[in-house]
Structures are given as C-alpha cells and as structure tokens.
Subunit: 340 residues, 2 copies
Amino acid sequence: MTRKKVTSLDVARMAGVSQSAVSRVFTEGASVSGEMDRRVRAAAEELGYRPNALARGLITGRTRIIGLVVAYLDNPFYPDAIEKLSHALQEKGYHLLIFTTGKHGIDTERVISDLLDYQVDGIVTASIDLSNELTRQCARAGIPVVLFNRGIPGSGLAAVTSDNLAGGRKAAEFLLAGGHARIAHIAGFDGAQTSRDRLSGFRTALESAGQGLHALADGRYDREAAAQAARDMMDRADPPDAIFVSNDHMALAVMDVLRFDLGLCVPEDVSIVGYDDVPMAAWPAYDLTTVRQPTRRMVDATVTELMTLLDRPNRAARVIQIDGPLVVRGSARIPEGYET
Amino acid sequence: MTRKKVTSLDVARMAGVSQSAVSRVFTEGASVSGEMDRRVRAAAEELGYRPNALARGLITGRTRIIGLVVAYLDNPFYPDAIEKLSHALQEKGYHLLIFTTGKHGIDTERVISDLLDYQVDGIVTASIDLSNELTRQCARAGIPVVLFNRGIPGSGLAAVTSDNLAGGRKAAEFLLAGGHARIAHIAGFDGAQTSRDRLSGFRTALESAGQGLHALADGRYDREAAAQAARDMMDRADPPDAIFVSNDHMALAVMDVLRFDLGLCVPEDVSIVGYDDVPMAAWPAYDLTTVRQPTRRMVDATVTELMTLLDRPNRAARVIQIDGPLVVRGSARIPEGYET
DNA sequence: GGGGTGTCTGCATACCTATGCAACTGCTCG
DNA sequence: CGAGCAGTTGCATAGGTATGCAGACACCCC
C-alpha cells in the first residue's frame, strides 16, 4: 500500500550513477556537470525522491531547526511575532520547533533537555524568563540563544527588545504633557527586565519633571491580575488620574475594569497608555494610546542575529534595542500640539 | 571552549560496557539489569550525555515530530488551540514543527516538500485548506494527517471540528426565538467546509421556521472583509436586524462597525451572534453571544486520533465532531426563558 | 547431571546522507 | 608533446543510534 521510502541510492541506481553524485546534485555549491544534474533530477522526480533532512542533519551537524521556547500565547503580541518569525526563518530554510513551558516556567529543565536532544541549531525564547541554568547548558552545547522581547543583563545572551527605557519615557512625557497629576503604573512582572526597564524609564521621566510615581502594582502580564491591580488602585482614597500599563494585553483589561466595573470614562476620568500596539489596540472599542513595538523590525533583527551567531558562534552576542513610536489614540487625554 | 559532542560510545567507554548497552538503557522496554542501568546512568550523568534524537529518528523511522501547517494566527482561536496542542503533545514526547503558508495557501507545494523532508511522524493543519495534491502526497508517504477545525468530506482524511451544523442551528434558533425577522449571515470563506456547514445548519433552521436567509456575504475569515460586508448589508434598503457571523474574530469587527461607524446599538438595533467563544468574546466591551468551540476537547481528540493513526496507519481516519453550547451573553436580544 | 527457559550482554549491521581523497577526463599553455 | 590544471566522478567512510542474532550465564525441575 504505502511505498517504501526512496533513498538517494535508489535514485543513483535508476540514473546509473553513484550515490555521491545524487547527494551532490542536492547539495548547494557542489560540483556537478549539467548532464549529471539533468539525469539525477529526472530520476529523483520520477521516484519522488527528497533528501532526508535528518540524515543530512546527522552528518552536517546542522539541522536547520530553531527551537522556540514560549510560555503562553494569550497575549496577541506573541502570535503575531511568531507568525512573522516563522515566515522569515522559512525563507532562509529554517523551521521552528515549539517548546512550551508552564506559565511560570516550572518545567524549564525538561524542556531544555528536549531542546538539546533535537540538536536544534539555535534557540529563540519569547514570553519567558530563563534560568541561568538553561543559559549555562546551552552555552555549553554551543547553541546560540536569542531572547525575544526579554533581556538578561550580564548574561551575555543575545537579546532583541524595543527600547523599553525610551518607551517608558515617552509614555511619561505624554501623560505629563496632558497635565496629569497622579500618574500610576501597572508593571508586567518584576522578574522581567523588559518590564523593569519600562518602569525605570517611566519613573525617571516623571521624577525629572518633579513628579513621583503615584502608585505602582504588579500585573504579572496577566489580565486578571492587572484587573485586580486596577481595582485596588482606584479603590484608594486618592485614585490615579492616569495609568501607564506595561503591555496592551493588560491595558485592555484595565480599560474594561474602569469602564464596566467602575463606571468610569476613559480618558475623561482616567487616561490609559499601553505598550506593544497589538492589533486590538487600534480597534475602536479601545482606541488605545500605546508605545509601538515594531514587530517586523524586531523579528528581522532576531533572524539576523541568529544567522550571524550560526555562522560565527564565537562572536559576542549583541543586545539590540529597537525604538518604537508612541501611537496616539483616544485612551489618554491628548495634550495641545500632539498629532493624533 | 565548547565541548565536543558526547555520544553513546563515550558513555560506553567510561562505564566499561558496549555501546548497545548504553542504547538499551535509554530505550524504553529494553532488557537491562539493575547494575548495568546504574553504571550507565552514572556515566551518562557525568558526561552530560543525552541520546541524539536525530540519529534515533533515522534508525527507528519515528522522529516524534508533528508538523503543524498553519496559515495565519491573527484569529485568537488558533494561538489558544496551538498552545494547548503543543502542551498535550509534549506530554507524550512529541513536538510541533511549524510551517506557515501564505494566507491564501500560495506556497503550499513548497511547504509540503519541507514537511516531508523532515520525516515528520504526522501532520496537523489549522486555519488552512489543503489541496488534494497535498493530501495525495502525504498519503503516499504514509503520514497521518489530522485536519483541525476544517474537514474535507470525501477526502478520507481525519478531521476534528465542532459540530458546525448543530452550531449553526443553535444560532438560528436563538435568533428566531428572539423574534428577529431579517436574519443575515456573514460566512467565513466559501471554500471551507467548516464555514459551509455553519451556514447550512443556520439556513436549514431558518427555513424550517418558515423564514429565509435575509442576506448573505463572505467575510473570508478576515476582519476587514467582514467589516466591509457588514457595511454593505446595513447600507441596503432593508438592513438585517440580526447577523450570525461565522467566527468571533469577524463578529468583533462587525460589532465595531455597527457601533462606531454606523452609530448603531448592539443588540437593540442589530443582534450579533458569533462562533468560537474566543477569550475576547467574554470581555465586557463586546460581551458576545457565541457558539463555543470546546478547544480543550477538540485538542484532546486531535491528539488521540493522531496517536491512534501513528500506531495503526491503516486504520480508517475518523471525522470527529464535538458539540459545543451556545454561550448567551449580551450581544443579541435574549428571548424569554433563556438563561444568560 | 542435563535439558529447557529466561535474562543480559556484545557483536555486527543498518538507517541515509555528505565529503575527503584519489582517479579520471579534457584542456591549456609553455 | 608533456606538464599542469580545473572540473567531475566514484569509493569509502563517518555521523550516532537501535536491534537481530548468538553467546553467556543463572536457574529450575525432572
């Protein structure tokens, strides 16, 4: 019923040449005559032959597989990025092998083992914070790692993020220009450098304007936690008149709480600024002012860095920060002079 | 700097046993004495040995890799499903290798070739309609295929969907019970069986109530197309008073158009019913009445079917339909006697 | 004590391809 | 005309593991 697997040897026999010849025809940069090329390809076509990527990987030591380690996909920023990343890698003949960790990275250990078992050429992580243990293991195996949308300062690992410090600053300047007096922040997860940087840039800008951070809470990159944080903040004696939320995913939850739980108006009662510019931020139901993370450029940088490290494993890993604009919409009071 | 790769032979030498012994220790179901097991594992631990999945796959013919073919991830139903699918497969020692096709499946051919090159054990497709060509190639290679959230009748391929006919019917009955007189539908993509079934169940139910479909448009599973379709419908002399939209992703776009473009109220002016019950459907800004697709159960069924086909490739593929409830929220007029 | 049974182990080989090396061809150039 | 060279090709081997086969061993029971 189902045909036997067809190998390069089968093709060689049919074409009356050696197995090496077949291999060379399908190997880029090998020396093959036009005649040979024609005969082998004809035979291959007829038999339906395609080189076995595994056997190839076994011998070349390069599998053209990139491991993608990801904790969750409910923040729409990630599916979008992953789709683009997969496309970009596919262009270059690479593919993504997915490894999901628990939301709190419990089983990271096992995931890493699996990862190494598959002899992946490189690793991209997203929506996850890895332990030093992992770092060490991958370095030891000589596998390049690129952190996407996260960074671990001092780890020596390559990382691609937006310019989170600048982004936080832009949010602060915008809210200050809007004349807000009680400006709060709901952070992502205080173990994540990305979140810390956004906070740091935000706070610094507030302080240099002579204003302090009015309130601070941890939303743990989770809708429910962010919603609760917002409720708590608004429940205080002097609630904030503006909240910068560390990503859009949480910001939308905060807007829902303000409007539907507390009956407040955005931006009249409270201004909201998010981070990411996910597609939903542009939807009229939210119309969220937010700092854009240039997904495309971040993905391109990730791919470029990865390819570079594949070529030269010993080159120092780079930490790349890509600047993104503040996208002004309707969820925060618009100061004089700002274009929407 | 970076250590050499450590192989089973290295472990064997250190433990003073044969390479086969090492292999057996790491092979489930092989016969090994307790003493041997201990010695080998100790040596393996010390050297940091892990079996090479590629070499293993090459010889066993099973890679424990499942190819996932996906066209787009912007409909949040898919990221959610993929995350669950990845988890479930990981439990069983399998992993997903991603292949993205263009939104309109242009480069399906190349994708299939790549897929086969990697010797995947099985294939899952999502958000995509495959050509018969693909079907044929995979069958020929003896690789089981499971279509997720799509089905191709008569193809003989395994498929897991919700009960789309019943779902369409439920939507119709709900809208009929709500007393709507001009009931329209915005379909997904008329090449997709899933969409056709939803329409068919919907239309049949309307007709058996003596009512016809008031209007019909194709939203191509795309936000923009769906929005335009809604505008066109509402622009007619006798606009609908209810619209059943073939998935939530489009339904949310339709609600945005109605409210923000046309200044209409939902559900007072127009009732909206969606399909999927994506997380956002429950958000208060939309509060969308929708037919739930039980993602967890669909994923479980997909994994089960896949595992079964891996064991017995010749067993007939099954088409599995999983029933999901209508989740009543606030986007459609609620008839007497319905619980919210 | 011998034959049967069951458990472990090692040897040798197979899986499929890429590649170093040597041999061969046809050619140019001195 | 011979040396040298570039371009092709085949041979043989490597890459890391799983597994059939046969041998070794222990054990039991008659």
